[in-house]
Symmetry: C2
Protein backbone atom coordinates (compact mmCIF):
# COMPACT_ATOMS: atom_id res chain seq x y z
CA UNK A 1 0.00 0.00 0.00
CA UNK A 2 1.01 3.54 -0.47
CA UNK A 3 4.29 3.79 1.27
CA UNK A 4 6.55 6.06 -0.70
CA UNK A 5 3.86 8.18 -2.33
CA UNK A 6 0.30 8.23 -3.48
CA UNK A 7 1.28 9.44 -6.93
CA UNK A 8 3.02 7.10 -9.35
CA UNK A 9 6.33 8.44 -8.19
CA UNK A 10 7.92 5.07 -8.57
CA UNK A 11 6.95 1.70 -9.85
CA UNK A 12 3.79 1.66 -11.93
CA UNK A 13 5.50 0.91 -15.22
CA UNK A 14 2.00 1.09 -16.62
CA UNK A 15 1.88 3.75 -19.28
CA UNK A 16 -0.49 6.12 -17.60
CA UNK A 17 -2.43 8.15 -20.09
CA UNK A 18 -1.57 11.64 -21.02
CA UNK A 19 1.34 13.94 -20.67
CA UNK A 20 4.94 13.94 -21.71
CA UNK A 21 6.51 10.67 -20.56
CA UNK A 22 9.38 10.69 -18.14
CA UNK A 23 12.82 10.30 -19.55
CA UNK A 24 13.92 6.91 -18.18
CA UNK A 25 17.55 7.90 -18.52
CA UNK A 26 17.15 10.49 -15.78
CA UNK A 27 16.31 7.92 -13.15
CA UNK A 28 19.31 5.78 -13.96
CA UNK A 29 21.59 8.79 -14.14
CA UNK A 30 20.39 9.97 -10.74
CA UNK A 31 20.96 6.59 -9.09
CA UNK A 32 24.41 6.35 -10.64
CA UNK A 33 25.22 9.89 -9.53
CA UNK A 34 24.26 9.06 -5.95
CA UNK A 35 26.45 5.98 -5.98
CA UNK A 36 29.39 7.95 -7.32
CA UNK A 37 28.99 10.72 -4.78
CA UNK A 38 28.64 8.22 -1.94
CA UNK A 39 31.84 6.49 -2.99
CA UNK A 40 33.75 9.71 -3.44
CA UNK A 41 32.69 11.84 -0.52
CA UNK A 42 30.41 9.80 1.68
CA UNK A 43 26.90 10.79 2.61
CA UNK A 44 27.72 14.47 3.24
CA UNK A 45 28.65 14.79 -0.44
CA UNK A 46 25.22 13.63 -1.55
CA UNK A 47 23.30 16.88 -1.80
CA UNK A 48 20.31 17.26 -4.06
CA UNK A 49 22.04 19.92 -6.08
CA UNK A 50 25.14 17.75 -6.53
CA UNK A 51 23.10 14.75 -7.63
CA UNK A 52 21.15 16.82 -10.10
CA UNK A 53 24.28 18.41 -11.51
CA UNK A 54 26.11 15.12 -11.94
CA UNK A 55 23.08 13.43 -13.42
CA UNK A 56 22.73 16.27 -15.89
CA UNK A 57 19.27 17.28 -14.74
CA UNK A 58 17.62 19.49 -12.16
CA UNK A 59 16.35 19.19 -8.63
CA UNK A 60 12.74 19.38 -9.79
CA UNK A 61 13.17 16.24 -11.88
CA UNK A 62 14.46 14.38 -8.84
CA UNK A 63 11.65 15.47 -6.57
CA UNK A 64 9.25 14.37 -9.28
CA UNK A 65 10.56 10.81 -8.77
CA UNK A 66 11.40 10.56 -5.08
CA UNK A 67 9.64 12.21 -2.16
CA UNK A 68 12.88 13.15 -0.44
CA UNK A 69 16.61 12.66 -0.59
CA UNK A 70 16.86 9.64 1.73
CA UNK A 71 14.51 7.67 -0.49
CA UNK A 72 16.73 8.31 -3.47
CA UNK A 73 19.82 7.33 -1.52
CA UNK A 74 18.15 4.18 -0.26
CA UNK A 75 17.20 3.06 -3.74
CA UNK A 76 20.68 3.84 -5.00
CA UNK A 77 22.53 2.06 -2.21
CA UNK A 78 20.20 -0.92 -1.81
CA UNK A 79 18.60 -1.67 -5.16
CA UNK A 80 16.19 -4.56 -4.95
CA UNK A 81 16.17 -7.38 -2.47
CA UNK A 82 19.26 -8.68 -0.82
CA UNK A 83 19.71 -11.74 -2.98
CA UNK A 84 22.51 -13.28 -1.05
CA UNK A 85 22.25 -16.62 -2.71
CA UNK A 86 21.95 -19.26 -0.07
CA UNK A 87 21.66 -22.61 -1.69
CA UNK A 88 20.06 -24.12 1.36
CA UNK A 89 21.40 -27.43 0.30
CA UNK A 90 24.40 -27.83 2.53
CA UNK A 91 24.52 -28.47 6.23
CA UNK A 92 23.33 -25.86 8.66
CA UNK A 93 26.75 -24.41 9.39
CA UNK A 94 27.45 -23.87 5.72
CA UNK A 95 24.11 -22.21 5.15
CA UNK A 96 24.74 -20.02 8.18
CA UNK A 97 28.11 -19.02 6.82
CA UNK A 98 26.46 -18.00 3.57
CA UNK A 99 24.00 -15.77 5.35
CA UNK A 100 26.65 -14.14 7.50
CA UNK A 101 28.99 -13.57 4.61
CA UNK A 102 26.25 -12.37 2.32
CA UNK A 103 24.92 -9.91 4.86
CA UNK A 104 28.37 -8.58 5.53
CA UNK A 105 29.17 -8.24 1.84
CA UNK A 106 25.90 -6.45 1.17
CA UNK A 107 26.24 -3.93 3.99
CA UNK A 108 29.99 -3.43 3.82
CA UNK A 109 30.17 -2.56 0.16
CA UNK A 110 31.58 0.96 -0.07
CA UNK A 111 28.39 2.54 -1.33
CA UNK A 112 26.22 0.74 1.20
CA UNK A 113 28.54 1.43 4.12
CA UNK A 114 28.62 5.11 3.26
CA UNK A 115 24.84 5.36 3.08
CA UNK A 116 23.78 3.08 5.91
CA UNK A 117 24.44 5.20 9.02
CA UNK A 118 22.65 8.28 7.77
CA UNK A 119 19.87 6.16 6.34
CA UNK A 120 19.31 4.50 9.69
CA UNK A 121 19.21 7.90 11.33
CA UNK A 122 16.63 9.15 8.83
CA UNK A 123 14.32 6.26 9.66
CA UNK A 124 12.85 8.26 12.51
CA UNK A 125 12.09 11.15 10.19
CA UNK A 126 10.79 9.06 7.29
CA UNK A 127 8.85 6.07 8.62
CA UNK A 128 8.30 4.63 5.17
CA UNK A 129 12.03 4.16 4.86
CA UNK A 130 11.83 1.73 7.74
CA UNK A 131 9.50 -0.58 5.91
CA UNK A 132 11.51 -0.24 2.73
CA UNK A 133 14.75 -1.22 4.44
CA UNK A 134 13.22 -4.12 6.32
CA UNK A 135 11.75 -5.49 3.16
CA UNK A 136 15.24 -5.93 1.75
CA UNK A 137 15.61 -8.79 4.18
CA UNK A 138 12.19 -10.32 3.65
CA UNK A 139 13.41 -12.98 1.27
CA UNK A 140 16.37 -13.89 3.43
CA UNK A 141 14.12 -14.13 6.45
CA UNK A 142 11.69 -16.41 4.67
CA UNK A 143 14.42 -18.74 3.49
CA UNK A 144 16.13 -18.77 6.86
CA UNK A 145 12.88 -19.45 8.63
CA UNK A 146 12.17 -22.38 6.38
CA UNK A 147 15.69 -23.74 6.68
CA UNK A 148 15.67 -23.39 10.45
CA UNK A 149 12.33 -25.12 10.76
CA UNK A 150 13.69 -28.05 8.81
CA UNK A 151 16.76 -28.16 11.01
CA UNK A 152 14.65 -28.18 14.15
CA UNK A 153 12.50 -30.96 12.79
CA UNK A 154 15.60 -32.95 11.92
CA UNK A 155 16.92 -32.49 15.42
CA UNK A 156 19.90 -30.49 14.15
CA UNK A 157 18.91 -27.29 15.89
CA UNK A 158 17.67 -26.25 19.28
CA UNK A 159 13.85 -26.13 19.35
CA UNK A 160 13.90 -22.59 20.75
CA UNK A 161 15.71 -21.32 17.69
CA UNK A 162 13.89 -18.46 16.02
CA UNK A 163 14.67 -17.13 12.59
CA UNK A 164 13.86 -13.55 13.53
CA UNK A 165 16.15 -13.59 16.53
CA UNK A 166 18.92 -15.22 14.57
CA UNK A 167 18.65 -12.86 11.64
CA UNK A 168 18.50 -9.88 13.96
CA UNK A 169 21.66 -11.11 15.57
CA UNK A 170 23.44 -11.33 12.25
CA UNK A 171 22.18 -7.98 11.01
CA UNK A 172 22.95 -6.34 14.32
CA UNK A 173 26.47 -7.66 14.38
CA UNK A 174 27.12 -6.45 10.86
CA UNK A 175 25.49 -3.06 11.39
CA UNK A 176 27.30 -2.32 14.59
CA UNK A 177 30.47 -3.49 12.90
CA UNK A 178 29.92 -1.15 9.97
CA UNK A 179 29.10 1.72 12.30
CA UNK A 180 31.80 1.21 14.89
CA UNK A 181 34.55 -1.15 13.81
CA UNK A 182 34.39 -1.50 10.03
CA UNK A 183 37.97 -2.75 9.75
CA UNK A 184 37.43 -5.87 11.80
CA UNK A 185 34.74 -7.51 9.71
CA UNK A 186 37.16 -9.63 7.75
CA UNK A 187 36.76 -13.24 6.70
CA UNK A 188 38.11 -14.48 10.01
CA UNK A 189 35.33 -12.53 11.74
CA UNK A 190 32.79 -14.17 9.46
CA UNK A 191 34.08 -17.58 10.42
CA UNK A 192 34.09 -16.79 14.12
CA UNK A 193 30.56 -15.41 14.03
CA UNK A 194 29.36 -18.37 12.01
CA UNK A 195 30.90 -20.78 14.48
CA UNK A 196 29.40 -18.89 17.40
CA UNK A 197 25.93 -18.92 15.87
CA UNK A 198 26.24 -22.57 14.96
CA UNK A 199 27.15 -23.39 18.56
CA UNK A 200 24.19 -21.36 19.79
CA UNK A 201 21.89 -23.47 17.64
CA UNK A 202 23.04 -26.84 18.89
CA UNK A 203 20.16 -28.78 20.42
Amino acid sequence: MGTISARPTRSTPTTRGAGRPRDPRIEQAALAAVRELLAEGGYPAVTVAAVAARAGTTKAALYRRWPALPHLVHEAAFPGELALQMHLGADLATDLAGIVRGTRDALCAPVAAAALPALLAEVSTWPDLHAAMMQRFAGVFRDLDERLRAAVDAGEAHPDARADDLLRLVIGAVISGVLLTPDELDDAWVERLTATLARSLRP
Copy 2:
Protein backbone atom coordinates in the same frame (compact mmCIF):
# COMPACT_ATOMS: atom_id res chain seq x y z
CA MET B 1 46.96 16.32 16.67
CA GLY B 2 44.29 18.27 18.40
CA THR B 3 41.06 16.63 17.59
CA ILE B 4 38.46 18.30 19.80
CA SER B 5 40.31 21.55 20.16
CA ALA B 6 43.68 22.92 21.03
CA ARG B 7 42.14 25.14 23.66
CA PRO B 8 40.90 23.74 26.98
CA THR B 9 37.40 23.40 25.64
CA ARG B 10 36.57 20.62 28.06
CA SER B 11 38.30 18.90 30.90
CA THR B 12 41.24 20.77 32.37
CA PRO B 13 39.57 21.48 35.69
CA THR B 14 42.84 23.14 36.55
CA THR B 15 42.27 26.79 37.31
CA ARG B 16 44.11 28.28 34.42
CA GLY B 17 45.40 31.75 35.12
CA ALA B 18 43.66 34.84 34.01
CA GLY B 19 40.31 35.78 32.62
CA ARG B 20 36.75 35.57 33.79
CA PRO B 21 36.00 32.00 34.83
CA ARG B 22 33.30 30.05 33.10
CA ASP B 23 29.98 29.87 34.78
CA PRO B 24 29.65 26.19 35.72
CA ARG B 25 25.89 26.49 35.76
CA ILE B 26 25.84 27.03 32.02
CA GLU B 27 27.31 23.63 31.28
CA GLN B 28 24.79 21.83 33.43
CA ALA B 29 21.93 23.87 32.05
CA ALA B 30 22.99 23.06 28.49
CA LEU B 31 23.19 19.32 29.15
CA ALA B 32 19.82 19.36 30.85
CA ALA B 33 18.33 21.35 27.98
CA VAL B 34 19.59 18.82 25.46
CA ARG B 35 18.09 15.95 27.44
CA GLU B 36 14.75 17.72 27.66
CA LEU B 37 14.68 18.54 23.96
CA LEU B 38 15.65 14.97 23.07
CA ALA B 39 12.84 13.59 25.19
CA GLU B 40 10.29 16.04 23.85
CA GLY B 41 11.02 16.25 20.16
CA GLY B 42 13.77 13.79 19.35
CA TYR B 43 17.02 14.67 17.71
CA PRO B 44 15.50 17.07 15.16
CA ALA B 45 14.37 19.29 18.05
CA VAL B 46 17.91 19.67 19.31
CA THR B 47 19.10 22.77 17.50
CA VAL B 48 21.86 24.94 18.86
CA ALA B 49 19.52 27.90 19.11
CA ALA B 50 16.92 25.86 20.99
CA VAL B 51 19.47 24.51 23.44
CA ALA B 52 20.85 27.97 24.09
CA ALA B 53 17.41 29.43 24.59
CA ARG B 54 16.28 26.73 27.00
CA ALA B 55 19.54 26.84 28.91
CA GLY B 56 19.17 30.58 29.25
CA THR B 57 22.38 31.37 27.44
CA THR B 58 23.66 31.95 23.91
CA LYS B 59 25.12 29.90 21.11
CA ALA B 60 28.55 31.42 21.64
CA ALA B 61 28.71 30.09 25.19
CA LEU B 62 27.96 26.60 23.87
CA TYR B 63 30.58 26.70 21.17
CA ARG B 64 33.04 27.86 23.79
CA ARG B 65 32.51 24.51 25.53
CA TRP B 66 31.90 21.97 22.77
CA PRO B 67 33.40 21.92 19.31
CA ALA B 68 30.12 21.01 17.65
CA LEU B 69 26.56 20.00 18.37
CA PRO B 70 27.05 16.22 18.25
CA HIS B 71 29.65 16.42 21.00
CA LEU B 72 27.22 18.22 23.24
CA VAL B 73 24.49 15.71 22.48
CA HIS B 74 26.82 12.82 23.14
CA GLU B 75 27.82 14.14 26.51
CA ALA B 76 24.19 14.83 27.40
CA ALA B 77 22.87 11.45 26.31
CA PHE B 78 25.77 9.30 27.51
CA PRO B 79 27.34 10.94 30.53
CA GLY B 80 30.25 8.98 31.85
CA GLU B 81 30.94 5.30 31.45
CA LEU B 82 28.26 2.70 31.09
CA ALA B 83 28.32 1.39 34.63
CA LEU B 84 25.93 -1.47 34.17
CA GLN B 85 26.74 -3.13 37.41
CA MET B 86 27.69 -6.69 36.82
CA HIS B 87 28.53 -8.33 40.06
CA LEU B 88 30.64 -10.94 38.36
CA GLY B 89 29.83 -13.21 41.24
CA ALA B 90 27.12 -15.37 39.82
CA ASP B 91 27.33 -18.05 37.21
CA LEU B 92 28.11 -17.18 33.62
CA ALA B 93 24.50 -17.15 32.45
CA THR B 94 23.50 -14.71 35.16
CA ASP B 95 26.40 -12.41 34.42
CA LEU B 96 25.53 -12.58 30.75
CA ALA B 97 21.95 -11.65 31.51
CA GLY B 98 23.19 -8.64 33.43
CA ILE B 99 25.25 -7.41 30.53
CA VAL B 100 22.47 -7.90 28.02
CA ARG B 101 19.89 -6.24 30.20
CA GLY B 102 22.23 -3.41 31.20
CA THR B 103 23.19 -2.68 27.63
CA ARG B 104 19.58 -2.67 26.56
CA ASP B 105 18.54 -0.41 29.42
CA ALA B 106 21.36 2.01 28.74
CA LEU B 107 20.69 2.32 25.02
CA CYS B 108 16.90 2.12 25.16
CA ALA B 109 16.41 4.91 27.67
CA PRO B 110 14.32 7.58 25.94
CA VAL B 111 17.07 10.16 25.80
CA ALA B 112 19.68 7.66 24.61
CA ALA B 113 17.39 6.08 22.03
CA ALA B 114 16.54 9.49 20.61
CA ALA B 115 20.17 10.51 20.30
CA LEU B 116 21.81 7.26 19.24
CA PRO B 117 20.87 7.01 15.55
CA ALA B 118 21.96 10.52 14.64
CA LEU B 119 25.05 10.19 16.80
CA LEU B 120 26.08 7.04 15.00
CA ALA B 121 25.57 8.78 11.70
CA GLU B 122 27.73 11.73 12.77
CA VAL B 123 30.62 9.42 13.60
CA SER B 124 31.79 9.61 10.01
CA THR B 125 31.81 13.41 10.17
CA TRP B 126 33.39 13.71 13.63
CA PRO B 127 35.93 10.92 14.08
CA ASP B 128 36.63 11.92 17.66
CA LEU B 129 33.06 10.98 18.53
CA HIS B 130 33.89 7.43 17.58
CA ALA B 131 36.54 7.11 20.23
CA ALA B 132 34.35 8.85 22.77
CA MET B 133 31.46 6.46 22.19
CA MET B 134 33.64 3.35 22.22
CA GLN B 135 35.18 4.40 25.48
CA ARG B 136 31.79 4.21 27.14
CA PHE B 137 32.10 0.45 26.84
CA ALA B 138 35.71 0.20 27.91
CA GLY B 139 34.88 -0.76 31.47
CA VAL B 140 32.27 -3.28 30.45
CA PHE B 141 34.68 -4.81 27.98
CA ARG B 142 37.41 -5.12 30.58
CA ASP B 143 35.11 -6.80 33.07
CA LEU B 144 33.63 -9.11 30.48
CA ASP B 145 37.06 -10.05 29.20
CA GLU B 146 38.19 -10.93 32.68
CA ARG B 147 35.05 -12.85 33.46
CA LEU B 148 35.21 -14.77 30.21
CA ARG B 149 38.82 -15.66 30.74
CA ALA B 150 37.98 -17.11 34.13
CA ALA B 151 35.12 -19.09 32.62
CA VAL B 152 37.35 -20.51 29.93
CA ASP B 153 39.95 -21.51 32.49
CA ALA B 154 37.27 -23.15 34.57
CA GLY B 155 36.07 -25.08 31.57
CA GLU B 156 32.71 -23.37 31.65
CA ALA B 157 33.12 -21.66 28.30
CA HIS B 158 34.33 -22.57 24.87
CA PRO B 159 38.04 -21.77 24.49
CA ASP B 160 37.37 -19.80 21.29
CA ALA B 161 35.16 -17.37 23.16
CA ARG B 162 36.28 -13.78 22.74
CA ALA B 163 35.06 -10.86 24.79
CA ASP B 164 35.21 -8.43 21.89
CA ASP B 165 33.15 -10.68 19.65
CA LEU B 166 30.64 -11.35 22.38
CA LEU B 167 30.28 -7.72 23.36
CA ARG B 168 29.97 -6.71 19.73
CA LEU B 169 27.19 -9.24 19.37
CA VAL B 170 25.31 -7.79 22.34
CA ILE B 171 25.82 -4.19 21.32
CA GLY B 172 24.91 -4.97 17.74
CA ALA B 173 21.74 -6.73 18.73
CA VAL B 174 20.67 -3.83 20.92
CA ILE B 175 21.64 -1.13 18.44
CA SER B 176 19.91 -2.77 15.52
CA GLY B 177 16.96 -3.32 17.78
CA VAL B 178 16.85 0.33 18.77
CA LEU B 179 17.21 1.42 15.18
CA LEU B 180 14.85 -1.02 13.53
CA THR B 181 12.54 -2.82 15.96
CA PRO B 182 12.53 -0.85 19.23
CA ASP B 183 9.27 -2.39 20.39
CA GLU B 184 10.56 -5.93 20.51
CA LEU B 185 13.37 -5.47 22.98
CA ASP B 186 11.31 -6.51 25.96
CA ASP B 187 12.33 -8.71 28.84
CA ALA B 188 11.47 -11.84 26.94
CA TRP B 189 13.89 -10.77 24.25
CA VAL B 190 16.57 -10.26 26.86
CA GLU B 191 16.02 -13.78 28.11
CA ARG B 192 16.09 -15.28 24.66
CA LEU B 193 19.26 -13.46 23.71
CA THR B 194 20.89 -14.40 26.98
CA ALA B 195 20.01 -18.04 26.47
CA THR B 196 21.28 -17.95 22.91
CA LEU B 197 24.58 -16.41 23.92
CA ALA B 198 24.94 -18.84 26.80
CA ARG B 199 24.41 -21.74 24.41
CA SER B 200 27.00 -20.30 22.05
CA LEU B 201 29.53 -20.25 24.88
CA ARG B 202 29.14 -23.85 25.88
CA PRO B 203 32.44 -25.71 25.60
